[in-house]
Subunit: 126 residues, 2 copies
């Protein structure tokens, strides 16, 4: 998938509150489809569709545990999206020189899938 298309898919995936909530849930650890569907007033196939969107964007990967297909957060696209947004940081950040350093670091980091630390997402809102 081209760079641009990946960004398209990532931002499109993030544009839905259900999907953002799913990502927030997954940040706390792996979960099955049923577990992910539980909080929503929505059918299971609807959740499966959302997961397929997230998977297409590379935001989620699936494992196999008997009948279960546990979902895992893959944050690399989130990093790419953040990197894109960072191009506009000068518009809203005062002390942006430290940000420059940071972003340079950020763009050289490439260790997706390793060394998971507890994150602290805060749901669908800001």
């Amino acid at each position: 998938m081209a760079d641009t298309e990946l960004l398209d898919a990532t931002f499109a995936a993030l544009a839905d509150p259900t999907r953002r909530a799913i990502l927030a849930r997954l940040a706390a650890g792996e979960a099955t489809v049923t577990e992910l569907a539980a909080p929503f007033a929505m059918s299971q196939p609807a959740i499966s569709k959302h997961l397929r969107v997230l998977e297409r964007a590379g935001l989620v990967s699936r494992g196999r545990d008997a009948q279960r297909r546990p979902c895992r957060l893959e944050a690399r696209p989130l990093r790419d999206a953040t990197a894109w947004l960072a191009n506009y940081r000068d518009y809203w950040v005062e002390s942006y020189q430290r940000l420059d350093v940071l972003l340079d670091e950020l763009q050289s980091v490439d260790h997706t899938g390793t060394e998971r630390r507890p994150a602290r997402p805060n749901g669908t809102g800001g």
Copy 2:
């Protein structure tokens, strides 16, 4: 507009390469609709529609200069989107303690529309 809906609108607006290119162009300064439309193999009404999407998301504001309606980048939603993404930074950043400091700063900054510095966006891609 609710917080969640704003994020919805922002991410949805960013999910289109034409719109990302428009934002990149606007980062270099104000531009009229005709100017914005020029680089695209697309009709003027199509661009007007894209601008309406960007405007609904708060990413663009319009002025008035005779018949022209110059567009200006409004980066606050970009900041909000970045702040949301930052919740997941622990998944892809090594030295994230500096990021903590940074993001705290970031969230307390609130000076949209003031003190514009030259930015350096890099187009639609990464």
